[in-house]
């Protein structure tokens, strides 16, 4: 298959693994007896689903950061917006089963005196509409934001900081109870999704499978984009944005494309995340959450497709694990991991493996060619691509 060669074996391996997980995990959870060694316990399924959503978010971020060099410190915002769109649907599904029994208004509106449903809540009782909004709201926000920012040639840290300002402003806005999104408490206590009880094992399994499929599609998409000529163009934009203009490209559109696609991916990740964790609240907009996403991508290896996925899975699961087994010291462990990776795996886990492999092959060739070399010099790690130009440059 041409496509197979085009995308490279690793992408296909990853996609295959994800699809296998999408099938095997639910099967094992639902069919294998609880004491079977391969049984995946019920409480693990949504946990895995959450990591997969995080991985999709990291992949989305990496599309803009790793490939186009836009360090977005506000990707959590798109994730959260997708999540809220889904959350609003789930809230509307509660219907008259809320504590006040109001058939239309969610509980928090009832007890904060909202007379009627605000206009922006209309339509969310329909799944198709909510699904559309999951894509549209983050996508549109990214498009509009990007349209202005990229055309104004806001780049580098300036762009990073305004993306941070964006998510921070949304954080504050969603905190406000007057906004009509449940304030700090957010949306929670969901009952069912598409008519299926949200707490049922089968629903969970299905959501997990859906997350895996979404991630697989995301991987395919990013793989296809980056392997195309657009991929080279993205790299060119990342390296020397202004130079691309002089050969006729419009880097702002390249960025806008990547940014919007990435925001949509993040929104979908958020939408799948919410029913699995059972709550969406403004905390998801917190700037530090977005920074964590950057950290996942960096840990795994920027611009490697596999890297962000691995990074998100690794860091998120370590966080789950260490906050439970080492509640007093897990920050040391996680902080130490970040420091360790930067120092010893300068390209992230996957990036270092990749580089180590090609580097090793080249060194092998070279050492055969030249027998004279004595004592390897401490080769300074070459400037990695996509770095922000330090302000002094």
């Amino acid at each position: 298959m041409i496509l197979a060669r085009f995308l490279g074996p690793r992408v296909w391996l990853l996609v295959a693994a994800l699809l296998a997980a999408a099938v095997l995990v639910p099967l094992s959870n639902l069919w294998l007896p609880a004491d079977h060694p391969l049984h995946v316990p019920s409480h693990i399924v949504p946990l895995l689903g959450k990591y997969v959503c995080y991985a999709l978010l990291a992949l989305a971020l990496d599309l803009v950061w790793g490939h186009v060099g836009i360090l977005s410190l506000g990707h959590g915002a798109f994730f959260a917006l997708g999540g809220y769109a889904m959350g609003m649907y789930l809230m509307r599904q509660i219907g008259p089963r809320g504590v006040y029994g109001n058939p239309v208004l969610p509980d928090f509106m009832v007890f904060l005196n909202w007379g009627e449903l605000p206009w922006f809540w209309h339509g969310f009782d329909q799944f198709w509409f909510a699904a559309l909004m999951v894509v549209l709201v983050p996508g549109l926000l990214a498009f509009v934001f990007g349209w202005f920012a990229f055309r104004s040639r806001v780049t580098g840290v300036y762009l990073s900081i305004i993306t941070q300002a964006l998510t921070y402003a949304l954080l504050l806005a969603f905190f406000r109870n007057d906004m009509g999104f449940g304030g700090n408490n957010g949306l929670t206590d969901f009952k069912d999704i598409l008519g299926f009880p949200i707490q049922a094992g089968t629903t969970r399994a299905a959501l997990f499978a859906a997350s895996c499929v979404a991630l697989a599609l995301g991987v395919l998409l990013v793989g296809a984009v980056t392997r195309s000529k657009l991929g080279s163009l993205m790299t060119a934009v990342r390296d020397a944005e202004s130079r691309t203009r002089f050969i006729g490209w419009r880097p702002e559109y390249v960025k806008l494309f990547a940014f919007t696609v990435s925001a949509v991916m993040a929104g979908i990740a958020g939408a799948l995340y919410v029913p699995q964790v059972g709550i969406i609240n403004p905390g998801e907009f917190a700037p530090v959450n977005s920074i964590e996403v950057v950290v996942w991508a960096a840990i795994g290896g920027r611009g490697t497709i596999l890297g962000p996925v691995v990074g998100a899975l690794l860091v998120a699961s370590s966080k789950s694990y260490f906050t439970a087994v080492a509640p007093d010291t897990w920050l040391f462990v996680l902080g130490g991991l970040f420091v360790f990776v930067t120092l010893f795996l300068p390209r992230g886990i996957i990036g270092t493996i990749d580089h180590g492999w090609t580097g090793w092959r080249e060194r092998l060739k070279a050492s055969r060619a030249a027998e004279r070399g004595a004592g390897a010099p401490p080769a300074a790690p070459p400037q990695s691509p996509g770095d922000l130009p330090s302000p002094a440059e």
Partner: protein, 283 residues
């Protein structure tokens, strides 16, 4: 209401009793004559001025390039040669003055990408290439063709494309560096790669800023030959300090000084100009 007394303007093209009508008509006529001449040109700069924090880098510069012409630009360091190219390619907006391409395209109203798409290509004084792409990809991105994002996404490699790149690689002697990252090239090799990118872009007007800096004499001669060949079908503006090279090009020379034209003509004519000797060539 009338604010100023009517000036007894030139009576002849009296258009209407309105005080400004005549003035306007005159202006329009003057413009038309200028436009008429302009329309024949490929590149037309008139009265261009650009200052940075009060320093006039370009000062009422006027320069005309005919279609199919190659022009060499010389001039002291800081004369404004690179700034002039910045203005033509849209990198810098002039404070005042006209910059027209193909007669009626006002370049000051277009941005860099639009200008490049119009068919103006540029090689920078300091070689700038896409460092984390390999040589091949650098050229491929520069190849003429659609510049839309979606066409780039759908783009498929073709045989013609490959052939073209092959030819450029041969011309620039980078064939064996084809899959090297551009970052790993030496200074001179980057110069060549940039020339290659310019060839790939295949523009109507080439602006080349110091193409032979850092090249050996033999390479210099080779570059001159290449440019002459290009100039058969394209227009070229070359900036160089290497007089041997300029001589080999054998074209009209313009010498800039302090942002305006100091002298223009054949190389012999220009280099005989005492002012050029004074500020540029030295004794």
């Amino acid at each position: 209401m009338m604010q100023q007394p009517i000036e007894p303007g030139p009576a002849e093209p009296f258009v209407s009793p309105h005080p400004y009508a005549t003035q306007r008509a005159l202006e329009r006529r003057a413009k038309q004559t200028a436009d008429g001449a302009r329309r024949e040109t490929l590149l037309y700069l008139d009265g261009v001025t650009k200052s940075f924090d009060g320093f006039k880098a370009i000062n009422k510069l006027s320069l005309v390039l005919q279609k199919g012409e190659m022009r060499a630009i010389i001039g002291p360091n800081g004369a404004g040669k690179t700034t002039m190219m910045d203005i033509i390619t849209g990198k810098t907006k002039p404070d005042s003055g006209e910059v027209f391409f193909r007669g009626d395209v006002d370049l000051t109203r277009h941005d860099e990408a639009a200008i490049a798409s119009l068919g103006i290509g540029r090689k920078f004084q300091k070689p700038t290439v896409f460092e984390s792409l390999d040589v091949d990809e650098n050229l491929r991105l520069s190849l003429a063709g659609s510049r839309s994002v979606f066409s780039a996404l759908r783009h498929k490699r073709t045989v013609e494309e490959a052939a073209k790149i092959e030819a450029i690689l041969a011309t620039t002697r980078l064939t064996d560096k084809r899959h090297r990252l551009a970052a790993d090239l030496s200074h001179g090799q980057k110069q060549w790669l940039e020339i290659g990118m310019l060839l790939a872009q295949d523009p109507e007007l080439l602006l080349v800023d110091e193409p032979v800096a850092g090249m050996t004499d033999a390479e210099t001669a080779e570059t001159a030959r290449l440019l002459r060949e290009i100039a058969e079908t394209r227009s070229v503006v070359v900036v160089e300090h290497d007089m041997h090279f300029v001589r080999e090009l054998g074209v009209k020379v313009t010498c800039l000084h302090e942002g305006s034209v100091l002298s223009e003509g054949t190389l012999d004519h220009v280099s005989a100009d005492p002012r050029v000797v004074e500020v540029y060539l030295g004794r």
